[in-house]
Structures are given as structure tokens and as C-alpha cells.
């Protein structure tokens, strides 16, 4: 079996986990990690599920491990913050079946709210950490991670970055090894972290660290996980250059320093194999540390008294690439073609037909409101012309920030009302406890749950509100209005509306904003990209019409363009609707004061 496949890092991790005999996997979707579980769900003999959030995923993986099987939890970098509570103590209990936690960091913030460097989680939670540098390593290290987890009795952190997750490289396909479940044995001292037991485990961890460090400096080198690549050619000046690097940064370093440098490529970066680095440093005249984001390795090298050059040259802000490394170290610029023209940015926007548009249009007309937002497609409602989001901090933050803001407004005696905007999946993730807080501690926040019937931003994943699981099985649906009522929101203050009908949006907002008590508006309409289930089709119907502008009636007032719909083209002296993109949602039709927009059948409109 030496079939070579061209796989992304995420696909390779799914393959590696399957080959390693994985039994249980759980995750909350988050770019750039989402496709790992989506791929795992395609394999036989593996159970994979979407958890409501990352904390649940890690706890479920810890439970599966304790019960004796190999388990996996995957998430984006900020997801590990949510899961940090179980993570730190999971490091104390250790495992029965091997457990691997994948953190996918996003240097450069391609699709994230920050670019935190999660290698520090390994350092502070004392977790063995592996960092693959391409797809083949992503597969190999995943398999190794399970072995090391069982050998050292610790969960293992597999740290990826966007380029590892989403770049493709050649991977050798292997066979699945079936790992029999370890029969369950009650072990209170190991798994019940009361202070008395935890104190003992804490001391055990110190012994584990010593064994792991010996492995990092010794065996990891023998099997090529931490490896020295000697210079193939001499430098012109006879001086020897050495580079310590890990992950995708190693690939950039190889392209920039070429064959005249020698490399210490680290695949295992916690514990840092300091003896190995020291030995390597002694063989070169100048030692560079090339790493993305924070000086994680450099700081540890310097603390050990190893002289090196790192962040004094290499930026710690943003994503690296070969050009940046070359410019930073050698000051050289590539030859390139320069254009006198500049292109217009192409920012993402709410899709044509997005159900959020109607609601945001109505909300954007309100004066004296503070609108706390959340993480999801609807964060795009902050962009002009809608500009109907004032904050976006973290998953679930909208409702709790709204609560604090409402209390602040009340204390200051000012006139603003507070609207908190959150998506269905984000509400399930970590908005429920925040809404409970609003009911319990009484703030007159209008909480808007934008229920588009799917987890949309990460690419259409099922969630507890959609009726299906990751593996395609039918599942019970969360009843959102009943859930809100059970949290203590008065039933008569909970309203479900169609967000594409502006009269419904406006009357719901009028009613809720006039109140001095908590209220909930649920906007229920599917994402325009959603593949309808049978239930969706019978509830919402199809997209059978498109909107057209009657040029005779149109005064080019351009009010319809204030909806921010990408199907509406504002020309020099006319406004048109692109039939191919229009879904007939009719928000523009309701906005037009001259009745110039009408709906016609799709077949007639897109010819």
C-alpha cells in the first residue's frame, strides 16, 4: 500500500486518526479546523460528532479516553480557550485510551477575531505538543500522538496553523490498526481530581515531564521527529548558519536559507529538546530561530543561555511567508511586476437572499440602540451600508455584553436601549447561560436569535437545532422559544418572526424596545446556502421568483442599495438586479418607495 494522495492537512489528520484506530471524535466547527471531523465522518469504524461547544468536545473525548478507547477533539485556536478548563485538569488525570487535542491556529487572522499562539497552552498545561510542517507529517504525527499519549499517560496537543490545515501535499495511505478498548477499571485516585488526589497527580506530572524531555532529546531524534538537516553546501564566507524552526515556518526557512544553512527541524516542541538545540547551536556560527507569531521557542532557548536571533528580525505580528522571512533576514526584495493601477477590495458580504439582511435593515434604522454582536455570518452586518453591529468579542459574548451594557446604561441614566444579536449555533455554543443571566439578573436587553437553521459561516454544519447529526442521522431539535421560556423569559415576550418581512421585523422591534423587561426575538429563516431538509422544504418553500426593477418607475434614489445586497448593481444612471444572484427575497421590493421593484418567476427572470 503505497498509494500517494494529494491531501490537505485536515484530510491527512482524519486519515491518520482513522489509521491509528480512533474510535471517538468530537468537535465544534471552526475555521481552519472544521474539515477534520467532516472527513472523519466519512470513514467506517469511527464515530464522529458535532458538540455544542469545544468544552463539551474535550470533556467527551476525556470520557471516551477514560472508558478505554482512542479519542480526539478538534477546534480552532480560540475554541481551546473555551475548552481550557477541562484541558488543564485532563493533563493531571492523564488517559486510558490515547487522547489527542487538535488546535488549529490562525496567524494573520484569515477568519478569526485574534491570532493567539496556542503553543503556550502546551507550556502552561504541560502537554506534549507536536507541530507538523506538511500534510504527510500531519498524518504521521497524528498517529504518533496517540502512541505518545498512551505511553506517557497524557493528552497530546497537535498544533496546526491555517497553512497546514488548508494546504495540500502528498500523503502515503496506510491501513487501519484496530486498537482494542482497554476494559474499564474504576480508578478514583487517577480520575477524581479532589485536591488530595490532584496533589499526587501533580507530582506524577513532574516525573512525566522528565521522561518526555528525555524522549524529546533522544528517541524523537532517532525517529526523525526532531531532526538535524546538515548544510548541503558551504557558505561563501566559510561561516556556518543554523536555523531552528517548526511547523510551516520551517518550510519558509528552507526556501529562504537554502542549501547553505543547516537546520534543526522540531516536530515535538513541548517539552523543548533543549540539549539537542544546545548541541546543534555549538556546530554553527549564527543561530536563527524562525517561528510564526510569538517567540515561543526563542524565549526558551534564551532562558537556557543559547544565543540566537529571532524576533529582533522576524515579525511577531501576522502570518509569515518566504518573502517576509527573506526581507526580514537578508533585506532583499524579489523582482516583480508593478502595476500603476490599483484594484478595488473585494470584502465578503451577506449573500444575496441572506435572511439576516431584512432584520439588519430594520435594526439599522433604529436610533439610540447599542447593538452587541457575536461570531458568525451576521458579524458581516457590521459592514456598511447596514453597520448594524457595535461589538464582536467572542462566542456567546453578545448576550452577556448586552447585559452589562444595559446595566451600565441604567446606572448612567442614559437613553440607549440594548439589542444583542446572536446566531442559532452560537446561542447553543455559549449563549444559553448568558440569556439565563439576563433573566435572572433582570436587564431589559432585546436578545435576537438569528436562527438560519444551520451553522453557516464555517460551511453548513448541522447543530442541535437542525434535526441532524454530523453522521447524517436524525436527531431531536432544540425548541428555542421553549428553551428561552424555561430560562425565565416571559412567554409573551418571545416572538418568532420571518426576518425577510420588514413589517414583522419592525413591529417586533417596536414591541420589544418599548418594554422594560427582557425580550427575545427569534428570526427563523434558512441560510440561502442551506441544502433544505424535507422539513425545511415544507416550511419555507423554494426560491421561485427573482426581483426586477421597472426602469420607468425607478427614480434612481438608490434606497434599495442601502440593503447592501450584492445582487443590486448601482450603475451611473440606472440600478439593476442581477437575475442570476437574486433569490427573490424581496427585501429591496419592500424598501422601494416607488413600487419600482416587483417579483417575476425565476425562469422568466434569469433567461
Amino acid at each position: 500500500m503505497t498509494e500517494k494522495l494529494l491531501l490537505t492537512g485536515n484530510e491527512a489528520i482524519a486519515l491518520g486518526a482513522w489509521e491509528a484506530g480512533l474510535v471517538f471524535a468530537s468537535a465544534y466547527p471552526g475555521t481552519p479546523s472544521t474539515e477534520i471531523l467532516e472527513n472523519l465522518a466519512q470513514y467506517d469504524d469511527v464515530y464522529a460528532e458535532w458538540a455544542p461547544n469545544e468544552k463539551v468536545a474535550v470533556e467527551a473525548a476525556a470520557g471516551a479516553s477514560m472508558a478505554g478507547v482512542r479519542s480526539l477533539a478538534t477546534m480552532k485556536h480560540v475554541g481551546l480557550n473555551v475548552a481550557a478548563d477541562p484541558l488543564f485538569t485532563f493533563s493531571y488525570t492523564g488517559v486510558t485510551g490515547g487522547a489527542v487535542i487538535v488546535t488549529a491556529d490562525d496567524p494573520g487572522m484569515h477568519s478569526s477575531q485574534n491570532e493567539q499562539d496556542n503553543r503556550y497552552y502546551a507550556l502552561s498545561a504541560k502537554l506534549l505538543m507536536l507541530e507538523p510542517a506538511d500534510s504527510e507529517e500531519a498524518k504521521d504525527y497524528t498517529k504518533l500522538a496517540f502512541e505518545l499519549s498512551e505511553r506517557f499517560d497524557t493528552p497530546v496537543l497537535l498544533r496546526l496553523t491555517t497553512r497546514i490545515c488548508h494546504s495540500k501535499g502528498l500523503v502515503t495511505r496506510g491501513e487501519r490498526t484496530t486498537v482494542p478498548a482497554v476494559p474499564y477499571r474504576k480508578n478514583i485516585e487517577k480520575f477524581v481530581m479532589t485536591p488530595a488526589n490532584a496533589k499526587v497527580r501533580r507530582v506524577d506530572m513532574a516525573g512525566r515531564y522528565a521522561a518526555e524531555l528525555a524522549y524529546a532529546n533522544g528517541e524523537a531524534a532517532q525517529i526523525g521527529i526532531n531532526t538535524v538537516i546538515p548544510a548541503a553546501e558551504q557558505n561563501g564566507d566559510g561561516k556556518k548558519t543554523g536555523v531552528v524552526s517548526a511547523g510551516v515556518a520551517y518550510q519558509y526557512a528552507r526556501d529562504v536559507f537554502g542549501d547553505t544553512a543547516s537546520y534543526l527541524k522540531l516536530g515535538l516542541t513541548y517539552p523543548m529538546p533543549i540539549d539537542m538545540v544546545r548541541e546543534f547551536a555549538a556546530t554553527v556560527d549564527t543561530l536563527y530561530v524562525i517561528e510564526e507569531l510569538e517567540p515561543y521557542m526563542e524565549t526558551q532557548l534564551k532562558a537556557a543561555g543559547i544565543a540566537c536571533i529571532g524576533k529582533s528580525l522576524i515579525p511577531e505580528i501576522g502570518e509569515l511567508n518566504s518573502d517576509i522571512v527573506r526581507r526580514s533576514v537578508f533585506g532583499t526584495e524579489p523582482e516583480r511586476v508593478r502595476s500603476a493601477l490599483s484594484s478595488v477590495p473585494r470584502p465578503p458580504s451577506l449573500c444575496a437572499g441572506c435572511p439576516h439582511r431584512g432584520f439588519f435593515y430594520g435594526l439599522s434604522k433604529r436610533k439610540n440602540v447599542i447593538i452587541t454582536g457575536d461570531i458568525g455570518c451576521y458579524t458581516l452586518g457590521s459592514a456598511p451600508p447596514l453597520s448594524a453591529i457595535d461589538s464582536c468579542l467572542c462566542m456567546g459574548g453578545s448576550i452577556s455584553m448586552g447585559h452589562g451594557a444595559a446595566k451600565a446604561v441604567g446606572a448612567a441614566g442614559s437613553a440607549e436601549k440594548v439589542v444583542a444579536v446572536i446566531g442559532d449555533s452560537t446561542f447553543f455554543h455559549s449563549g444559553v447561560t448568558s440569556l439565563m443571566n439576563i433573566a435572572y439578573n433582570g436587564s431589559a436587553v432585546v436578545t435576537v436569535i438569528m436562527d438560519n437553521r444551520i451553522t453557516a459561516m464555517t460551511g453548513q454544519q448541522q447543530n442541535p437545532g437542525t434535526g441532524f447529526t454530523l453522521m447524517g442521522d436524525e436527531a431531536p431539535l432544540v425548541d428555542i422559544p421553549a428553551l428561552c421560556a424555561s430560562l425565565g423569559i416571559k412567554k409573551e415576550h418571545i416572538r418568532v418572526i420571518n426576518p425577510l418581512v420588514l413589517d414583522e421585523v419592525n413591529s417586533a422591534l417596536d414591541e420589544a424596545l418599548a418594554r422594560d423587561e427582557p425580550g427575545v426575538i427569534i428570526t427563523r429563516w434558512p441560510c440561502v446556502l442551506k441544502q433544505y431538509s424535507k422539513a425545511d422544504a415544507s416550511e419555507f418553500g423554494g426560491y421561485e421568483t427573482v426581483c426586477v426593477i421597472d426602469a420607468e418607475k425607478c427614480t434612481t434614489c438608490r434606497l434599495c442599495t442601502k440593503t447592501g445586497c450584492p445582487a443590486i448593481v448601482s450603475g451611473e444612471d440606472s440600478v439593476k438586479i442581477t437575475g442570476a444572484s437574486c433569490t427573490g427575497c424581496a427585501v429591496c421590493e419592500q424598501v422601494c418607495p416607488f413600487d419600482a421593484i416587483t417579483r417575476i418567476s425565476r425562469s422568466a427572470g434569469t433567461e
Binding site: K168, Y250, D323
Partner: protein, 195 residues
């Protein structure tokens, strides 16, 4: 595959234009010729009207999965303004294939900015540019959606100038395209190749 140098091709466009399938066929072709291949896709939020780019590097041994400025021997732009956006990644003397096709971005749709004029003239002045009406050619063959395969054909022709070796593109297309659309796409490839 005796040349040790890493070669690079960049495909750029807008979400929904079919760059992904074209890139997939290209990379599989390079793999079949025995190259080490790395391919990097940036399509964050592409479904919401954003730019899409696929970077392919291939050679005896490839390290970075992403292309540097001034490195791409060939750029295939599925949309004119995207050609302009990525021009700095073209190797001086490299070839840029540009689809004569405009997709205005949101600031342009809203009237807040204008679609830049004179892109084709600028590209022709600054680089070895091949302008193709891929949509027109595909429509002539019966389906405008085959535009991506027209551009693929043109890309393969341009890459041959880079020294590719024998690759059975027909077989790779057969593997990746549904039988019902194969004949159309083979014609589209041919038309692009000879454009």
C-alpha cells in the same frame, strides 16, 4: 523531471467561478508526472463574494506551500480585477492568462468605488498577457459554466513553456468530471489550449 527548480502557477478569481476544479485537475496532472506538489487554497468567505486564490508549487522537492512575489511562471486570472490584484506574484517574463470577464465587488456595486478602467491594456503593457474570452468560448460550446476548463486548457498550454513533461490531461479530466459533462469539457479544454 530532471529540473530541480520549483515551478509555480497561481489561479485567481471570485468564489463560484470554478477555480477549485481547475486547480485540482492541474495538481493531479503534476502528481501523475512524478512531481512533488503542494497546493494552497485561500477561499475564506468565498461563498460570500470574496476573492479566491489557488497556489500550486511543484518540482523535485517543494517546501513552502505558498507562492512568493515575483515567483509564478504562470498566473491564470478568472476575473480581470483579480489579475491586477495578483500581478506582483508574476515572475518577470512570466505569462498571465486573463479572462476578459468582470465581476464587480461590493464597494463597486454600491457605487462607492469604480471598477478600474484599462486593466487589459495595463496587463498587456507590463507582462506577457493572453486575453481570452473564456465565457464566450464556453457559451459557444453550449455551456458558459465550462469557462473554467477553457482557462485550464490555456494554462496547460502556457505551462508547457515551463517544461512540464508528458501528462495525460484527458485521463485526469475523465477522473474528475461527471460523464455527462465530459465531452463538453474536453472540447472546452481543447479550445482553451488552442486560444
Amino acid at each position: 523531471m530532471n529540473d530541480k527548480k520549483v515551478k509555480a502557477i497561481l489561479l485567481v478569481g471570485v468564489g463560484g467561478q470554478g477555480t477549485i476544479l481547475a486547480s485540482k485537475i492541474l495538481s493531479e496532472g503534476f502528481v501523475s508526472a512524478g512531481y512533488d506538489v503542494k497546493m494552497s487554497e485561500i477561499h475564506g468567505m468565498s461563498q460570500r463574494g470574496g476573492s479566491v486564490s489557488t497556489q500550486i508549487r511543484f518540482g523535485a522537492a517543494v517546501h513552502s506551500p505558498i507562492i512568493g512575489e515575483g515567483e509564478a511562471g504562470v498566473i491564470v486570472a478568472f476575473e480581470k480585477m483579480e489579475a491586477l490584484r495578483w500581478l506582483e506574484y508574476l515572475r518577470p517574463g512570466g505569462r498571465i492568462i486573463v479572462n476578459d470577464y468582470e465581476i464587480p465587488s461590493v464597494p463597486i456595486l454600491m457605487g462607492a468605488a469604480k471598477y478600474p478602467a484599462g486593466i487589459l491594456e495595463e496587463l498587456t503593457a507590463k507582462a506577457d498577457a493572453l486575453v481570452i474570452d473564456a465565457a464566450g468560448i464556453a457559451e459557444g460550446l453550449g455551456n458558459a459554466k465550462a469557462m473554467n476548463i477553457v482557462l485550464l486548457g490555456a494554462a496547460v498550454r502556457a505551462m508547457e513553456g515551463e517544461g512540464l513533461g508528458e501528462i495525460d490531461w484527458k485521463a485526469i479530466m475523465q477522473k474528475n468530471i461527471k460523464p455527462a459533462f465530459l465531452e463538453l469539457n474536453l472540447k472546452a479544454f481543447e479550445a482553451g489550449f488552442n486560444a
